[in-house]
């Protein structure tokens, strides 16, 4: 676990480890947590949308319907398709009240 990054989900206070190259959602599921809803796990359904408040990560392919470029730019992404490059703080709010996030995040590359 020495290479693992720590993910903090702000609403629940849950913390979990995520190995490099592992998606945040998969790491959460493996550790038995439920702070982010699990949908298709393939970037298609938008169920696991989170806002990354701080930290660096890579993104895999995600449906443009759920993550248009402007959302992606402000860290609104799908937990099943983000791979941490540092410790991350994420926030998963009920979808109705989700709003724009802070701008502290960077997307390093496409996967």
């Amino acid at each position: 676990m020495s290479d693992a990054f720590e993910i903090t989900e702000q609403c629940s206070g849950n913390r979990f480890h995520c190995e490099p190259g592992q998606s945040v959602l998969k790491a959460m599921e493996q550790q038995g947590l439920k702070c982010v809803p699990v949908g298709c796990r393939g970037g298609g359904c938008g169920f696991c949308k989170v806002t990354v408040l701080s930290g660096d990560y890579e993104c895999g392919k995600m449906s443009r319907v759920h993550v248009p470029p402007e959302s992606r730019a402000c860290g609104e992404v799908l937990a099943c398709r983000i791979y941490p490059l540092s410790d991350l703080t994420i926030e998963c709010r009920p979808r109705e009240v989700a709003e724009t996030a802070t701008q502290q995040t960077t997307t390093k590359s496409m996967r």
């Binding site: 298709c40 796990r41 393939g42 298609g44 359904c45």
Partner: protein, 307 residues
């Protein structure tokens, strides 16, 4: 098949990453790649199917279903159906022969549920894959993964079920095999068939138009469904639910997702119908049991995760 619409013919599915999708549908499901076209689309079929393809994959930036098509008995029936659709007030679009490789002209239209469907009469007959037409063996020995038998049906989520029923039953000649009614007697799910099968297309009420719930593939036995479940674990494929049994259709089933989040089903068994059978009805308060016969509880993901 009262109006000459014969059976499901093909489904075009949008995927985010073509290589990952082809690997999923061939290595895991056991479909066979039969062609590719200059748009980059990949054509696949299951081994018992006699025509060249039944699944078309198209790379796009959002997953989902572009359209599902039904094969019509012949060109005169297709021409009559075209007239009937226009008389019913449906806008049709003619897709020329060859737009999908080795497929005849297609008549495309949108159902009130927001889904795009097509009718066609001709597609290249390539015969069952891997066995001879005369004195055929039971099955080909070099199939992969789940070795799915055929593309069987799709389940679509959308509004306007009554108008969609009218189109499919009164214009296209489907019949109602099974339904779910709410307390007021409004149909919230309709399973429509052209054959003795439990369904060739199904719709469940959903506010948003044109959503895709799953494409389903047939397996012969419960043992095959359990083996599919093993393969889903071996390949770390995203699972939805199962193996279990549906109340609706009584099919034995497992649901999982392709790498772009489109839901797939493989199933076996299920009810059959003849024209003297009445539709089977489930009450909405029994929806848990209707959908998952063993758990008798709905999972939210099954109802809300769509592409």
């Amino acid at each position: 098949m009262k109006k000459g619409v014969m059976r499901p013919g093909h489904v075009q599915i949008r995927v985010l990453d073509m290589d990952a999708a082809v690997k999923h549908y061939t290595d895991l499901l056991g479909l066979i790649e039969t062609d590719r076209d200059d748009q980059g689309r990949v054509y696949l079929k299951a081994w018992t199917e006699v025509d060249k393809f039944s699944v078309v994959l198209r790379e796009a930036d959002e997953p989902g279903c572009d359209f599902m098509a039904f094969k019509v008995v012949d060109e005169p029936f297709l021409q009559q159906l075209e007239k009937d659709l226009v008389e019913h007030g449906v806008d049709i679009e003619n897709i020329p022969e060859g737009e999908l490789k080795d497929c005849g002209r297609r008549v495309r239209f949108k159902a009130p549920s927001g889904h795009t469907f097509e009718l066609y009469a001709d597609k290249q007959y390539t015969g069952k894959w891997g066995i001879t037409e005369v004195n055929p063996e039971a099955w080909p020995r070099n199939l992969d993964g789940m070795k799915v038998v055929r593309f069987d049906h799709c389940l679509m989520y959308g509004p306007e079920l009554a108008a969609t029923y009218d189109l499919f039953v009164n214009v296209l000649g489907f019949y109602l095999a099974e339904q779910v009614l709410d307390g007021e007697g409004t149909r919230i799910a309709q399973f429509l068939s052209l054959s003795t099968k439990a369904h060739d297309i199904a719709f469940i009420h959903h506010e948003e138009m044109g959503k895709f719930h799953h494409a389903s593939f047939y397996l012969e036995t419960w043992e095959d469904v359990l083996r599919a479940a093993d393969l889903i674990s071996m390949t770390d494929t995203s699972i939805d639910i199962g193996p279990t049994r549906h109340g609706l259709t009584h099919g034995k089933t497992i649901y999982f997702f392709d790498p772009s989040g489109n839901r797939n089903e493989v199933f076996c068994g299920g009810d059959y119908n003849y024209p003297d059978h009445k539709p089977v009805t489930w009450q909405a308060e029994q929806l848990g049991k209707a959908i998952f016969y063993h758990d008798r509880v709905l999972n939210e993901r099954f109802l809300t995760v769509l592409t």
